[in-house]
Point group: C2
Chain length 109, copies 2
DNA sequence: TTTTAATACCTTGCAAGACAAAGTACCTAA
DNA sequence: TTAGGTACTTTGTCTTGCAAGGTATTAAAA
């Protein structure tokens, strides 16, 4: 049982997820599960099957790097860190996002 | 020759296109080519191969209807009109959009 | 009267990506 | 040694954006 509203939100989230990930990692390095929690807090819910491939793509593009770190409990964590290239991309995304907000406002009048 | 910036913008546009179409048609009925021009004016450039299937999908969902009208020059035009269901969906999208703007702001801090 | 150009709509095939679901691996405590 | 929690990864499906090519109508030029 899923509302229309959920579909709408899910659809809109697409394309901005990369921006969200870079935004989160720009503040503080993080591992996938903690990123999921932060997205949840911001009402930008995403699932594992979406996030993991996305992180790998961004890493392959040189926007992120990572290092392994021991966990207090459970298996080691893969901490992702934003790179210089990632920060440059984030700056571009800031402009792109602001432009899109303006465009929508124009269309809505 | 395409800049990174173009990719970023194209990526972000995805998922908001349906919102743009409904926004445009909420103001005034329009045919595909005129919708393309309005999107271009708002810097939300889209191509025919994206727009036509999208209009058909929205029509099949009952968000739009259409009627044929003679053109002053050339073949007849298919004017799309937003339906009551389409307006309800647009209202949902307004909330969804505003929430997303807020979420991004939260993430960017 | 054929050809050209402009306008308009539509379809096909490919590729990217979101997601559900299932799988692998590590660690601790009962 | 099994159960449960944490964490990362992969597979398969479905949707959708888009390039490219196609069809149809009209009017004006050659």
């Amino acid at each position: 049982m899923e509302s229309t509203s959920d579909n709408v939100r899910a659809q809109m989230r697409k394309g901005v997820l990369e921006y969200c990930i870079l935004s989160i990692l720009n503040k503080k390095e993080a591992y996938a599960s903690s990123i999921l929690e932060e997205l949840k807090r911001a009402n930008m819910l995403v699932v594992e099957g979406t996030l993991y491939p996305l992180l790998i793509r961004q890493k392959n593009q040189g926007l992120l790097s990572y290092r392994w770190e021991e966990s207090p409990q459970g298996p080691p964590r893969k901490y992702y860190v934003i790179t210089d290239k990632g920060r440059a991309q984030l700056a571009e995304m800031d402009s792109a996002w602001q432009e899109m907000v303006d465009s929508i406002e124009t269309l809505r009048k």
